[in-house]
Symmetry: C2
Subunit: 191 residues, 2 copies
DNA sequence: TTACGTTCTTGTCATTTGCGAAGAAAAAAG
DNA sequence: CTTTTTTCTTCGCAAATGACAAGAACGTAA
């Protein structure tokens, strides 16, 4: 649980004492490779801190194809914002790409903590803002960059992804087919 | 100012009395067509409720081309989340596409209200979550739909945009060139 | 190990899209 | 109203990408 406490402190918004107190409300959750942490159609009720492992989020398009919408590594918060806060069914699934271990907080507990601890409120908002911001950046790169540029960018900025996720997941995350990604990699290896 | 009060109440998170009290901290701001409400490089310090008019947000890509990232109509909150909350320079510009009139709240005032009114906090979070959620939807459509499908979707879901924004802005918002959008429209009119 | 299923690569072909440039149309300025 | 600027459309061509299919490579489980 030390990892969680350290994570809460890392933002400099929460001190050690408060971090320990917040962390005490989380419960341990362990999953195996392939397990679904959240299934589309259900309401997300876990604000989940991933201590160890790797996960991805994916949705289905109108034709039923899987589209990977995000990857999560060690020490990241994993939850479906809209489902969690609006208490509505999630359109996304969260799947473990390896054995996972982390800490979960329920909606009720999170609200209780938000209500009593302004620091945790700010922490929560900072997480939300961060997620929003990185999604915006990704949208911009989707519009302005070629598939090849996006591939290289991901390779530089988040190399861990390539160690944990199959290429077809990465392809849909980048907005290309697996065929196309394979070609991009081939061109790249020529140099 | 009635419009603002009504807007604050519309979420059902804030009652009339509190809405009036919150609204009293906003200040009126009027702008002409073409004016920049926020310039890239500056820190956004206005949580802005657009009462009347139409605006767009745009950024520049690495080659210096304008990319429209969002459109805002009547009765919408307009602000750059990351710049506003993190107090960092904005990468985006906000421009009036017609004469605009709305109400602005400073970061300091917003925090003061967040601190004293749990209802307004929830309201603020709901706005944030909503923006996040719609950006996710848009990202998914960018990955799974063709440019033509995205065009038709926008035409159905937000027809006002076509009454206020030039097509080249809409093109970059949709992630295509103006040339390509022109072709898509031509194909469409053949039916 | 062997057999099976999944993932990845490669090929061909059709389609979409971008780029550069030119002209038409529309809007703004004088 | 005329001029100027901006926006929109159109053209030809090249490049990128998707769809489909076949086979290779890989991992998993019996």
């Amino acid at each position: 649980m030390d990892t969680l406490v350290a994570f809460l402190q890392s933002s400099n918004l929460v001190n050690y004492e408060k971090a320990t107190m917040i962390a005490s409300h989380f419960t341990l959750k362990e999953m195996d490779k392939g397990d679904l942490h959240l299934t589309a159609g259900k309401i997300s009720d876990e604000y989940f801190f991933l201590e160890k492992g790797f996960m991805r989020a994916f949705a289905h398009d109108t034709e039923g194809n899987e589209v990977t919408t995000n990857f999560y590594g060690d020490k990241q918060v994993v939850f479906e914002v809209s489902s969690f806060f609006n208490r509505i069914a999630s359109r996304e699934n969260f799947q473990c790409l390896g054995d996972c271990r982390g800490w979960a907080l329920s909606y009720a507990d999170l609200n209780m903590l938000f209500h009593t601890l302004p620091e945790f409120r700010d922490f929560g908002r900072a997480m939300l803002v961060k997620g929003f911001s990185s999604l915006k950046t990704r949208m911009l790169s989707m519009i302005t960059e070629t598939a090849e540029q996006r591939y290289h960018g991901l390779l530089e900025q988040r190399p861990e992804i390539f160690h944990h996720a199959p290429l077809k997941n990465i392809a849909s995350y980048l907005g290309v087919t697996d065929t196309s990604l394979s070609r991009i990699r081939k061109e790249f290896s020529k140099k």
